[in-house]
């Protein structure tokens, strides 16, 4: 079941990155929107926060309903905190800490992103 998938995702801090995974060209990610990247058996939602010239990545799995949908959600900010709204029931999560901003769901896992030579890289610790 998908429930068991949750444990596959845990936040990676920048300091603990051991692998920078080359995901895709920048142009594949819509401006101010997201797309899903496959890394081994993981699904990672990557967001091109172009208004701020920033990139974020998190698990693609909705912690509420356990569906692979977060990359299709809408981004925005909550009092300055960049966030993602799940397309299923509009639960919002901080893209900086993963915290659920409008409820008390468990936080989602967050991954570091870097851009080099027009490519998007996601940081993993395994």
């Amino acid at each position: 079941m998908l429930d068991t998938l949750l444990k596959d995702y845990s936040t990676v801090q920048l300091e603990s990155v051991t692998v920078w995974f080359k995901a895709a060209e920048i142009s594949k990610f819509p401006k101010n929107g997201g797309a899903c990247v496959k890394y081994k058996e993981k699904q990672i939602a990557v967001f091109n926060f172009s208004r701020q010239d920033k990139w974020y990545a998190c698990q693609n799995l909705s912690p509420e309903k356990k569906e692979m949908v977060l990359s299709r959600g809408m981004i925005g900010d909550d009092n300055g905190i960049p966030k993602i709204a799940c397309p299923l029931h509009k639960k919002t999560f901080s893209l900086e800490t993963g915290e659920n901003l409008n409820g008390d769901l468990d936080p989602i896992a967050i991954y570091p992103v870097k851009i080099e030579d027009n490519f998007v890289y996601i940081g993993f610790s395994e």
Binding site: M1, L2, D3, L5, A23, A24, K28, F29, P30, K31, N32, G33, A35, C36, V37, K38, Q43, V46, F49, R51, Q52, K65, K66, E67, M68, V69, R72, G73, M74, I75, G76, D77, D78, N79, G80, P82, K83, A85, P87, L88, K90, T92, G103, D104
Partner: protein, 836 residues
């Protein structure tokens, strides 16, 4: 100058200072406050918030400067060790002495630690001060380093224990609650509500152990487990004790003040101890032979002590103290008020229980059925404030008291907070009445919740009364004829209608530009789709253009379903479909293995398409002559029709032809919410046109037009806009009505709610649409015609444009499908696997 010394700078000691300096007379006193903790008083009630941000300053009741400004000498990190009543002196740990005229003991309480063998071991904590929390955090971090699955237990399943349970869970430890009694929250809940609460807590991951007496704590230096019986052991590496409180009454004992048998310094209704110069307030004070472990009674005690010292002798502590509590606990509402249990001899109970929803409500009513005596709410405490007020003010209750707790019929059983008497205490923490709140708005000109809270202090402590205070502020503003501004969200300080005008006047067609010129921040899931809807309603822009500001359904031109797959719904105008088209749909559905069903709007929906399949499916549908049905948009859904005079022997006109014409006219138009139509061939109304946002019914001599109807959760019959008009006029009126609605409605407001809220109601709509009282019908007509003339099928646009088509892949870096989508079989079709 006389001196007041306050011992203890906790919540109640602080409140005493605040109330004292608010009086002019206090200027005649020198005020000295001692606190043992290393920081000025903080909000213990919200202590758990410290885990989230570890910001002790954010919890402060007032900064150090406040004490200075108010001439209060605050001495922290210095405990008082002795009182010499004979010469009115106190001494501190640092052996300093101070003289007093009045002494106020606000020493609070400490966590009770039961004498269990081994409690002194490392890893055992209590939950009372910021230092306790810092200790827990550090210890938990250390544990998790060694063992990511470390477990922690909380001893005590009361209000505080459950809060602590949530805290250890948030620290990433596996949480266990150990309770001596056979149920959780034994003091507030009956057995059944306790069980409901337990189910809910277990569902979110708390492990609960009831009827457990702990014999000893196991481990060498540090705790490794708890032993209940011979073979009954729970392995845990950390323990938080939350087994009740003990008043910190040692000063009272050592100077021989009258004490309670089980502790606490005895006070009368003036808050005076057995020494008339010494007062005791808060959790150290024993009043009516009780210690009150809540802030509200503590604050009231502070108020009484201030009044008594300043000579206002008529202010006394009430004989009965309200112990009602509502705590928001781990996303579970729990509240209990008045007499929660009540023996059968005193009254009747009405109980509503639904374990599947983790819901339990109980109210206790007097034998004559006239008064509410108390109750318990678990799972949904939204009615708590109102019920609590009804109880406090002995207000009349409905003849059938079950109405008070049954899922509310429209408007709820008790109307608005404005019905409360003026002297009803709305905020019990700060003792603010309904009258004071309303006056703060009407007389002092405060217009927002924030201003009123600042002026009256209402809702600034536990915050439980906030919704009610908010209601009162809004209702009072309304009664003064002031509009309560409906702001879209934090990014746009405009109502939808204002933004509509801006977009239209300034011809802004780009979300980023709109945000840069008229908003702040980066937008959100509220304002983005709203702006998208405006661009569509004004410029007839399809959802393909600015796809990332669309709701997910619009972005992919399909409805996302339970398992992340999508549904496909082609337009079948008026519900008329040829056998040839049916065969085509059947073939395509079969090819892509889709689940098919007839919708309520007389068309066919195919479920279970994966993202990458959508353009393929639509390409084939379009080749067969179909177009998008826009089932995903806030736009026209369907126009339902009966067969009318074409086939029906009662029919007065051709309802199918009219429905097809009108559906094709309005297709693609985006609006504040979805809208639907219906056309019936006679008043037998087989198409249920009056259950739609607009409906036409053929009558002798023409068509009747009805507007503002609705099915769904709040069914509403549409009302008559015009009678016996010809078809052209009928269309014209409908055009204008819809455009007027699109311009003026709030976001996500159906026509029924819009009409309901519209000042002047249906008569006003008639005036605008038929009599042109605003002089805008020409504009409305043109706007509608523009929409009709510029319609494009979004799916045709999408499959023809490679760039748009490229959006339909699950992964950007792989062509693989999402392997996590699972289906099961049902009645020979596929279905998503049920949600757990």
């Amino acid at each position: 100058m006389k001196t007041i010394i306050v011992v203890g700078n906790g919540m109640v000691g602080y409140k005493f200072c605040e109330k004292l300096v608010a009086n002019e007379e206090s200027k005649a006193f020198k005020i000295i406050v001692f606190g043992e903790e290393p920081r000025p008083a903080y909000d213990r009630v919200h202590l758990s918030e410290f885990f989230a941000n570890q910001d002790a300053k954010a919890l402060e009741m007032a900064p150090v400067e406040w004490y200075i400004e108010n001439n209060i000498e605050l001495i922290i990190s210095e405990r008082i060790t002795d009182i010499q009543r004979a010469n009115k002196k106190i001494s501190t740990v640092k052996n300093r002495e101070f003289s007093y005229d009045y002494l106020v003991l606000a020493t609070g309480s400490s966590a009770f630690v039961p004498p269990i063998k081994g409690v002194e071991k490392e890893g055992v904590f209590v939950y009372r001060t910021i230092e306790d929390l810092e200790g827990m955090l550090a210890y938990a971090a250390k544990l998790k380093d060694k063992n990511p699955n470390a477990r922690a237990a909380v001893l005590g399943g009361g209000l505080l224990g459950l809060e602590a349970g949530k805290a250890v869970m948030d620290m990433g430890l596996e949480p266990h609650i150990v309770e001596f009694a056979p149920k959780l929250m034994p003091r507030q809940l009956d057995s059944r509500s306790s069980q409901v609460l337990q189910l809910k807590l277990e569902s979110i991951g708390l492990n609960i152990h009831l009827s457990k007496a702990t014999n000893q704590i196991l481990g060498e230096h540090a705790i490794t487990g708890m032993e209940f019986g011979e073979d009954d052991v729970l392995d845990v590496e950390m323990l938080v004790i939350s087994a009740g409180i003990r008043p910190r009454d040692e000063l009272g004992k050592s100077c021989d003040l009258e004490m309670g048998v089980r502790g606490g310094i005895v006070v009368d209704n003036k808050m005076q101890t057995s020494d008339e110069n010494i007062y005791a307030i808060g959790e150290v004070a024993l009043y009516n032979q009780m210690i009150y472990g809540l802030v509200a009674p503590g604050y009231e005690m502070a108020n009484v002590a201030v009044a008594q010292i300043l000579g206002k002798q008529e202010t006394l502590m009430a004989a009965e103290i309200d112990m009602s509590t509502k705590l928001k606990l781990i996303g579970v509402d729990v509240a209990s008020f008045g007499e929660p249990f009540m023996p059968a001899a005193k009254g009747h109970s009405v109980i509503f229980e639904n374990k599947t929803q983790h819901l339990y409500k109980r109210i206790n009513v007097s034998l004559d059925g006239k008064k509410l005596l108390g109750g318990i709410l678990v799972g949904d405490a939204s009615d708590y404030n109102m019920l609590h007020q009804v109880y406090l003010n002995s207000m009349p209750i409905p003849e059938d008291p079950s109405q008070l707790i049954l899922p509310a019929s429209e408007g709820g059983a008790f109307g608005s907070a404005m019905d409360l008497p003026d002297n009803a205490v709305v905020c019990s923490c700060e003792n603010v009445t309904k009258g004071q709140i309303c006056c703060s708005v009407s007389d002092d000109g405060n217009e927002t919740l924030k201003d009123v809270a600042q002026a009256t202090k209402a809702s600034t402590s536990c915050g439980g009364c906030k919704p009610m205070v908010d209601d009162l502020v809004k209702e009072t503003l309304k009664s003064l004829g002031k509009v309560v501004k409906e702001r879209i969200c934090e990014h746009f300080d405009y109502s939808r209608q204002e933004l509509y005008d801006i977009v239209k006047m300034k011809e802004i067609k780009d979300f980023d530009l709109l945000l840069d010129t008229h908003g702040t921040g980066n937008g959100c899931e509220t304002c983005k789709p709203l702006a998208a809807s405006l661009f569509a309603s004004i410029f007839n822009e399809t959802a393909n253009k600015q796809e990332t500001i669309q709701d997910s359904n619009d972005r992919y031109l399909a409805n996302i379903q339970r398992n992340g797959t999508y549904s496909v719904v082609p337009r079948v105008a008026g519900g008329e479909i040829s056998p040839k088209q049916l065969i085509a749909m059947g073939r395509i559905g079969n090819k892509y293995d889709l689940y098919t069903k007839i919708t309520g709007g007389q068309r066919i929906v195919m479920f279970g398409a994966q993202l990458h399949e959508l353009p393929l499916i639509w390409e084939e549908l379009i080749a067969e002559g179909f177009e998008t049905g826009q089932a995903y948009g806030k736009s026209l859904r369907t126009v339902k029709s009966c067969v009318g005079s074409t086939w029906c022997r009662y029919g007065l006109d051709e309802s199918v032809s009219f429905a097809i014409e009108i559906e094709n006219r309005y297709k693609g138009i985006r609006s504040p919410h979805k809208f639907k139509g219906g056309v019936s061939g006679c008043i037998r109304e087989c198409a249920e046109a009056r259950g739609k946002d607009f409906g036409f019914i053929a009558v002798e001599g023409g068509w009747n037009i009805y507007i503002g109807g609705n099915g769904g959760a709040n069914p509403k019959h549409a009302v008559l806009l015009a009678e016996k008009v010809d078809k052209e006029t009928a269309i014209k009126y409908a055009d204008r009505y819809l455009m007027f609605y699109i311009r003026t409605a709030q976001p996500l407001m159906r026509t029924a709610a819009w009409l309901d809220k519209l000042e002047g109601g249906i008569d006003y709509v008639k005036d605008v649409v038929i009599n042109d009282c605003l002089g805008i019908v020409k504009q409305l007509d043109e706007e509608m015609q523009f929409m009709v003339d510029t319609y494009k099928c979004e799916w045709t646009e999408a499959v023809e444009n490679p760039e748009i088509r490229a959006r339909y892949t699950h992964f950007v870096n792989s062509d693989e499908e999402d392997k996590n989508i699972e289906f099961v079989n049902l009645r020979e079709q596929k279905m998503p696997t049920p949600w757990a």
